[in-house]
């Protein structure tokens, strides 16, 4: 596989920690909708627990290299979120999505995942790494737009956060590619799961309108940001033709009604019988 392996030992030794002291844009006035959008990204960064709960009930928790990385990744994410909270200031927090479906998903998701994980074994690890890679791309695109909309001092802080996210993404890119390349089961499962979830990760915990507002504020009517991300997803082994970002830009915060048909261009992913791994 790749020759220069991501150096986990070096990464965990020098994480990005508390940033408040060194923020340049603290106190700069932001348009209300931009502040809302930043708080939206902040909630994703500080809400890693739900995702980790589903990940650690699977075989992934046995991989000490990945768990070492994730421990530090969650730590960094917390402080990125803290910096965003400081920049955006206090504001309304939408209630966590309540409906019965959301409650069931939140409570029994990890439970169901733990059961299903025993069927899929290590293929799920590849899916999880791919999820985080795609999420990093989407969140990075959001912050890049926020940089353009924010005063220079705030933009400089956002740039630092983006650097941190980019470093994390290196790990996810490497582990995801290796896993997808090496396992047909991982490719099949990744296609299915990536297509089915709402983006960014954690959007399923918010009212649909919160995600829609954040996307609209940052990107406006122009959906070209999505094409760049979709092209990168297309280039991952077996994941061509999912159009995840385009769907997110058109119907933010929503999961698709049904799984899109498999692209004829995918050579890696062979058809699988439906309904075997409904893991939600």
């Amino acid at each position: 596989m790749s020759t220069a392996r991501f150096d986990v030992a070096a990464y965990v030794r020098q994480p990005s920690g508390p940033m408040r002291e060194t923020l340049t844009g603290l106190g700069a006035a932001l348009p209300a909708d931009l502040a809302d959008a930043l708080r939206y990204v902040q909630r994703r960064a500080q809400g890693t627990g739900s995702w980790l709960a589903r990940v650690l009930v699977t075989a992934t928790h046995k991989d000490a290299r990945i768990t070492a990385f994730l421990s530090t990744w969650a730590y960094e994410a917390h402080w990125f979120g803290d910096a965003l909270a400081a920049l955006a200031g206090a504001g309304p927090v939408p209630a966590i999505r309540r409906g019965i479906a959301a409650t069931v998903r939140d409570r029994f998701g990890p439970l169901w995942e733990a059961v299903v994980a025993n069927l899929h074994g290590r293929a799920l690890t590849g899916v999880q790494m791919t999820e985080r890679l795609v999420d990093a791309w989407i969140v990075d695109a959001m912050l890049e737009r926020a940089q353009h909309l924010a005063p220079a001092a705030v933009a400089a802080d956002l740039a630092r956060i983006r650097e941190g996210i980019a470093r994390q993404a290196h790990f996810f890119a490497e582990t995801a590619s290796e896993a997808l390349m090496g396992s047909r089961a991982a490719r099949v499962l990744a296609r299915r799961r990536l297509a089915r979830r709402a983006w960014p990760i954690g959007a399923e915990r918010e009212p649909v309108a919160a995600t829609a507002d954040a996307i609209r504020t940052l990107f406006g009517p122009d959906a070209s940001w999505a094409d760049g991300i979709d092209a990168r997803i297309d280039a991952l082994p077996g994941l061509a033709g999912l159009h995840i970002a385009r769907r997110t830009s058109r119907k933010p915060g929503r999961r698709p009604v049904r799984t899109p048909l498999r692209s004829v261009r995918t050579r890696h992913a062979a058809p699988v019988p439906d309904g075997k791994d409904e893991a939600r």
Binding site: P18, G49, S50, L52, L56, V57, H61, A64, Y75
Partner: protein, 269 residues
């Protein structure tokens, strides 16, 4: 005792040991028994992620304060493992990612069933289960802190004791968080008190007993806590646990150690 999560998070650091001269172990290595205890402790620290998982599948992760703590705590414990691994390494004992992987795979079916079990309890007992987890955490952090302090006292190697004391100081902050949370949550709910009392008296075992062979548990507990001094330390832990709402009269540490053959010649309280 109030616990300020922001202060805790901002001051959360990876335990440092670069200023401690580990080469001192080359001239003056630790005896085999102490190394065996360190190996056990190192394993326990590295397995924190399994405990984090058990925590996350309960309804606790929705709580901002708890999830901030878990994030910091999990990383601190990881570095406890790294620090101990560094000491072991000087002695030629390698604790590498791959070996750890093997030991987690060894956990086998129990490791597969545990998250399911935890999630089931968590969702049947619901929010009250968080109180049990917090109490459990309080008990285990106390166990860890006093194990490190005991080892530092028994093995006052000039390079080891300072490191163990630094780790123990972080464990004390963990005790404070879990105890504050447990006390509040136990006070609020009778079901939480009943379930926690049941879990601690019937299910709980000494730190590490779910991941280490019984032989190792016996050895390490005996090495650290046997004799009148050890028993005094153990009773101190049990007294603190018994102060949690609804836990009066519990003496789970002493009971667990007596069940493993310790204190045969010392009278029960």
């Amino acid at each position: 005792m109030a616990f300020d999560i922001d202060t805790f998070a901002e001051s959360s650091t990876a335990v440092a040991w670069s200023d401690i001269d580990l080469d001192a172990f080359r001239e003056n290595p630790l005896p085999e028994d102490s190394l065996r205890a360190l190996r056990y402790m190192c394993d326990v620290e590295y397995h924190t992620v399994c405990y984090l998982r058990d925590m996350l599948v309960t309804p606790s992760h929705g709580d901002g304060e708890v999830s901030t703590f878990m994030t910091m705590w999990n990383r601190e414990e990881y570095w406890h493992g790294e620090a101990l691994a560094a000491v072991l390494k000087v002695h030629g004992i390698e604790v590498e990612y791959d070996q750890l992987k093997a030991s987690r795979i060894k956990l086998g079916w129990r490791d597969r069933i545990d998250p399911i079990k935890q999630a089931v309890y968590g969702n049947i007992v619901g929010k009250d289960f968080v109180a049990t987890h917090m109490s459990w955490g309080s008990v285990n952090e106390r166990g860890a802190a006093s194990a490190y302090r005991r080892l530092a006292a028994l093995e006052p190697h000039p390079a080891l004791a300072p490191l163990l004391k630094r780790i123990a100081a972080q464990e004390s902050r963990h005790i404070a968080f879990y105890t504050t949370q447990a006390t509040k949550r136990l006070e609020e709910s009778k079901l939480a008190r009943a379930f926690t009392r049941f879990a601690l008296s019937k299910v709980w075992g000494p730190v590490g007993s779910t991941i280490e062979p019984e032989e190792e548990v016996r050895f390490v507990m005996g090495y650290l806590f046997d004799g009148p001094d050890g028993l005094r330390e153990v009773r101190k832990m049990d007294e603190a646990i018994a102060k949690l709402p609804g836990m009066q009269g519990l003496a789970i540490n002493e009971a667990a150690f007596r069940a493993r053959g310790l204190y045969a010649d010392l009278p029960a309280a």
